[in-house]
Symmetry: C2
Subunit: 165 residues, 2 copies
């Protein structure tokens, strides 16, 4: 089974390379950017301006290959990739919650952006705490993670990884 | 540009048809299911058992076509699709946060499941409130939505929609 997706737009940010990008939006406070939504999808932006935060799904276009275990930025040992947010995933789909500052036609102004410039955007969903927030949460290795590195380095930039069929 | 994704596993639930599925996990409390992760991706499940909640990205395999505006279950007028969680999106990727009850080899036992049986799973990410929760949130049309329908009907089940190129 294969599913084919096409971008609905492009994310523009001040992060020109993967190394140096804040590893999460919460570490990117104030970093602004824009989303250019392609004309054929622009009608779908109606009513979005009322939301203060949006969830972006995008293609990790600067990532190569797949590693089923990796050492996350916030830890000092290898973890299963599905227990991390690392980009080298079987399906390299990134997810970020950003602030929506405004909608100008088919251009969205966003903030708290942890996304590399030029990233192909796959979807936009409204952030709705009633749907997206959970209580009584346990966070596994993250709860006791020893590292506090908040900016990406080059660890996911090389090609020394195996491909998953 | 086209990106091709392959499932990493299959979601099994008690919801055999789209109509009747709770429209969000928060309306599916206690509904259990399982995820069968394919053998070639099982190594990526290491360390996941420590997390109480996981975010699933999946293919809306029972949805057909794309509608850039639609009437959400919770409202009484049409809205831009990117301001909704409706399945008929340009890229029909669903996102659900579920409770992780346990990991038995490459089978995950989950609860609060709002996903149709047989859904192809694209990705699993750990739910981490530090990354995923935002304050001072405005939720646009949802904040004053008049309907409180919490179970899906057949509105997204037909084929009377336009395809986006």
């Amino acid at each position: 089974m294969k599913y084919e997706f096409s971008p609905i737009g492009i994310v523009h940010s001040s992060w020109s390379e993967p190394a140096g990008v804040p590893i999460q939006g919460v570490f990117a406070e104030g970093a602004t950017g824009t989303i250019e939504v392609f004309p054929e999808c622009a009608e779908g932006l109606a009513d979005l301006a009322g939301f203060s935060h949006i969830i972006l799904l995008y293609f990790f276009h600067r990532s190569r290959g797949c590693a089923l275990t990796c050492r996350p930025f916030l830890d000092d040992r290898n973890r299963g990739v599905f227990a991390t947010r690392a980009p080298r995933r079987p399906n390299p789909i990134g997810m970020s919650t950003v602030r929506l500052l405004g909608v100008d036609g088919r251009v969205l102004r966003i903030a708290d952006v942890d996304i590399v410039d030029g990233t192909p955007l796959l979807d936009i969903k409204p952030y709705i705490p009633d749907f997206d927030v959970r209580d009584n949460v346990q966070t596994g290795w993250y709860a006791t993670a020893r590292h506090r590195q908040t900016v990406a380095d080059t660890r996911f930039a090389g090609n020394d990884v195996k491909e998953v069929p």
